[in-house]
Symmetry: C2
Subunit: 332 residues, 2 copies
Amino acid sequence: PDAEAVAAADALQLRLTKPPGALGALEPLASKLAGLAGVCPPPLPEPAAVAIFAGDHGVHAQGVTPWPQEVTGQMVGNFLAGGAVVNAFARQAGVSVTVIDVGVATGDSDYKVRTGTRDFAVEPALTRAEVVAALEVGIAVARNLVEDGAKALLTGDMGIANTTPAAALIAAFTGVPAEEVTGRGTGIDDRTLAHKTWVIEGALAMHRPDSADGIDVLAKVGGLEHAAIAGFILGGAAARVPVILDGVIAASAALAAVAIAPDSIHAMVAGHRSAEPGATIALKHLGLSPLVDLGLRLGEGTGAVLAHGLVASAVRVLHEVATFDSAGVSEK
Amino acid sequence: PDAEAVAAADALQLRLTKPPGALGALEPLASKLAGLAGVCPPPLPEPAAVAIFAGDHGVHAQGVTPWPQEVTGQMVGNFLAGGAVVNAFARQAGVSVTVIDVGVATGDSDYKVRTGTRDFAVEPALTRAEVVAALEVGIAVARNLVEDGAKALLTGDMGIANTTPAAALIAAFTGVPAEEVTGRGTGIDDRTLAHKTWVIEGALAMHRPDSADGIDVLAKVGGLEHAAIAGFILGGAAARVPVILDGVIAASAALAAVAIAPDSIHAMVAGHRSAEPGATIALKHLGLSPLVDLGLRLGEGTGAVLAHGLVASAVRVLHEVATFDSAGVSEK
């Protein structure tokens, strides 16, 4: 990040017509984005684009969720028809929606790397080459959206069973036991939760992923949408465009992105705190504080889209608010 | 509230293409607003209007803040010129801004009840007639905005020293000691905080406000903007339009509104959690959970405006999201 731009933003915030620090977490956020852009004020994060990466998971065969795998492809259709929650939120926020099938079990897609991952309870989910291909999909999507004018990128995901690889990734990257990072996803019962945790523990013990090697971890226990989102973050960071992270899938992908390119952290904004316990553990590991904390556990990019208005508001302050001098307001 | 509309909203949420409860706090919020409107789905809360009620405070003479009183009037000018943080946030959110001088020490205004309150460290801040006049200002502003098409009302405030009456109101209505509800406002030091707390304790001991009589409490230790905001809430509730509360000033006014008309609670949405300790205590007493929790302590309506997009998103789900049936998505 550009330290001069951060310092300029910090100094500007003190001259604006408000008590110092009165905007709480929004002030360091605006300064961080000045550092990312290398200019103060940083660009308004508009227009913004949410990219929903969809994939299926071999580990679904282990019974980690009651939802049938076909729902992934059905929900892709729902996104394209504009009928999902993320579509409604995006219309409210004025955010564009792009859907990328990087690994759904059915259907055709220019971006599809594979029709779902292998079952990581049995074998590695992906080859290194497949991980690289999915990362490149994410990088390309980010680059295309930025070329088309996007000033903020928002992560979205769809994939029945995808909180299972997300928990495995978070356990692998943070070293926190599977028991603590594994959650109920769409709302599984105690017995399924215990089984899901056991599947993750077993896979980590079998594959022994190398937490310093992001591609290795993604290949052994990741997912295609997780890898593509990691690439999407890297692509946004390379373009110095803020990437607003959605929930637990994005948080697990962010750990992979940081393992691959540590500087990508400077582009990341934590959109919200998912109800999944692994999300909080991952964000803490990354040193990121979430903006929205309303118990959402839907994915799709819904939390990132909700957060977009908060990010834009934080930046807009640096563009538009009068200083004590310019407004003729007395200081204490 | 209309129990049938609430039940219809609860039932609809279960048929939409998302796991049950996956939208966390946004689901009961949307159902609450269906109950308020008496129809499911309830109207989208757009257009929305933030009303900033401004007033000065006799208790400023006690040295409860380092900011000069003239800043209240100067900030009114800043709001009208569009240069304050609330103006920037409102432009981001597409919310209109109305400024109402109900009690600033200087300047003319059709709505001014008095040029600031009396010093409640010495005598009651207001007469009952003055409180009623300020309540009527708030009711009239709410009615006018709704007549002009507003589908959501957002509270805003400006008044140097106004966290002092807010803390006194919260202590009086909740019975929680002044020590626990009094905060640093714009950021006062330990010594000023101790003095501010002592002033509030002394006023409560001297005036003994009757917590069952909202007008009595407002008259003895309130402020003109606090009373006007209480009226604004009552006006919104009477029109069955949601009122998004800003921070600690709004929370103290909400306690007064509930004391005057308990059913007004059904129109209230807690926009955010102010950094002021009294705000959390008041919201807990009201049974409201804040939507935004980012450490803001500015007032002006900034927290309410930030929350507006979240409220609109919650309601939009009920209007626009496909059902499992209509989208052809399988259920678990």
